[in-house]
C-alpha cells in the first residue's frame, strides 16, 4: 500500500539533483570533487547524478572521469564531453540537455563546498535559485591576504551599488537552480565567464525568480592559485559596466 510514511526521504526521492561539472584540465581535482559529492549526497539521501562536461582537456581529465564512472556507476556519473573549450553558457545548455534532474547544481572546481546545503535551503523556501555566498552568515574564505579581501569586498560594494542585485555574492558559482529556471536564464544571458554568473542572478531577479542564499566557505583551489591581478580587475569592471548598461 503506497501510504504516506512519516519518513521524510519518501518525498525527497521525487526530487533529483543533476550536478553539472564543466571541466578543463581538472585531472587532479575531479576525483576529489566527485568523491565529496558522492559522500555528501550519499549521507543526505537525495537522488543525484553528476554530469562531467569536459572540453577536450589535454591533461587526461576525461580518462580520469571514465575511471570514476566505472567506480561509481554510469547512472551516477555521466560523461558528456565536448571537442574543445566552448565556454560556460554552452556547457550549461549542453548539460541541461542530458540532465534528468528537476534541479541543477552548478559548482566551480573548487573543493570547498558542502553540497547538501543547497537542496536544504531550497526546500526551506521553495526558491527558484539558491546561491552560495562568502559574504553573509558564517560564509567566508581561507588563506586570503588583506589585498585580496579588500579587492573582493570593494568590487562587491561597487556591484551592490550599481546593480542592486538582491544577492550578496554575485561572482560565486556554487548554485542550485530549478531546471526550467536555468534553461530560461541561459537563454537570456549573453556575457562570458564569471560575468555570465553575475548576469544570471541579475536577470533572475528581473524575471521575478526567488533567490535564496547559503553561506559557503571558499577554500582556494588546492592545486593551483586563483589569480587576482590587474587584468582580472579591469575585465571585472568592464563586465560590471556592461551589465549596468544592459540590464
Amino acid at each position: 500500500m503506497a501510504s504516506r510514511r512519516g519518513n521524510a526521504k519518501t518525498g525527497e526521492q521525487a526530487d533529483k539533483y543533476s550536478v553539472l561539472l564543466p571541466t578543463y584540465n581538472e585531472r587532479e581535482n575531479l576525483p576529489l570533487i566527485v568523491w565529496l559529492l558522492v559522500k555528501y549526497f550519499g549521507e543526505s539521501g537525495y537522488n543525484y547524478e553528476i554530469i562531467v562536461i569536459d572540453d577536450g582537456s589535454p591533461d587526461g581529465t576525461l580518462q580520469i572521469a571514465e575511471q570514476l564512472q566505472k567506480i561509481y556507476g554510469a547512472d551516477k556519473i555521466l560523461l558528456r564531453p565536448r571537442a574543445k573549450k566552448l565556454g560556460l553558457g554552452t556547457a550549461y545548455i549542453h548539460g541541461i540537455k542530458h540532465a534528468s534532474g528537476n534541479f541543477i547544481i552548478i559548482m566551480d572546481a573548487d573543493l570547498s563546498h558542502h553540497v547538501s546545503t543547497l537542496p536544504l535551503k531550497q526546500k526551506e523556501g521553495g526558491y527558484d535559485l539558491v546561491s552560495g555566498t562568502r559574504y553573509r552568515g558564517d560564509g567566508g574564505v581561507y588563506g586570503w591576504d588583506l589585498r585580496r579581501k579588500l579587492i573582493s569586498r570593494g568590487a562587491n560594494f561597487i556591484t551592490q551599488v550599481l546593480l542592486r542585485p538582491g544577492a550578496s555574492d554575485l561572482t560565486g558559482s556554487f548554485r542550485l537552480y530549478k531546471t526550467e529556471v536555468l534553461e530560461k536564464l541561459v537563454e537570456q544571458c549573453v556575457s562570458k565567464g564569471y560575468v555570465f554568473q553575475m548576469e544570471m542572478i541579475v536577470r533572475a531577479r528581473q524575471l521575478g525568480y526567488t533567490v535564496g542564499e547559503v553561506p559557503i566557505s571558499f577554500v582556494d583551489r588546492v592545486y593551483g592559485e586563483s589569480k587576482l591581478g590587474g587584468n582580472e580587475i579591469v575585465s571585472f569592471l568592464k563586465g560590471l559596466l556592461t551589465l549596468f548598461a544592459t540590464t
Binding site: L36, Q67, I71, L111, K149, L150, R153, F157, V222, T247
Partner: protein, 92 residues
C-alpha cells in the same frame, strides 16, 4: 529600464530639484537660507557617500570570515578521498 537609465533618471530628478531651489528657477522666492543650504548639497552628498563607502568596505574587510575549520576539514577529506579512491582502483 536598465540600471543605467534608472541612475540617469534619478540623478536628473535630483539635479532638477537642486537647480530649482538653488537658482530659484520657478521664481518661488524661497528664503535665502534654503538656497544657501541647497547650493553645496551635491558636494555634501558625494562626500557623505564617499565616507559611507570607505566605512562600509573597511567594516566588511575587517569582518570577512576566515574559515580555518573548513580548510582543515577539507585537507582531511582530501586525504580520505585519495585513500578511498586508490582502494577503489583509481589510478591518478
Amino acid at each position: 529600464m536598465t540600471k543605467l537609465l534608472e541612475w540617469l533618471l534619478g540623478v536628473s530628478l535630483i539635479g532638477v530639484a537642486w537647480g530649482l531651489v538653488t537658482f530659484d528657477l520657478l521664481d518661488l522666492q524661497l528664503p535665502p537660507k534654503y538656497r544657501e543650504l541647497a547650493w553645496p548639497m551635491p558636494v555634501y552628498l558625494l562626500v557623505a557617500f564617499g565616507c559611507y563607502s570607505l566605512a562600509a568596505v573597511s567594516y566588511r574587510v575587517a569582518t570577512f570570515n576566515d574559515c580555518e575549520d573548513a580548510a582543515k576539514e577539507l585537507q582531511a577529506q582530501i586525504k580520505e578521498a585519495k585513500e578511498d579512491l586508490k582502494k577503489k582502483g583509481l589510478k591518478m
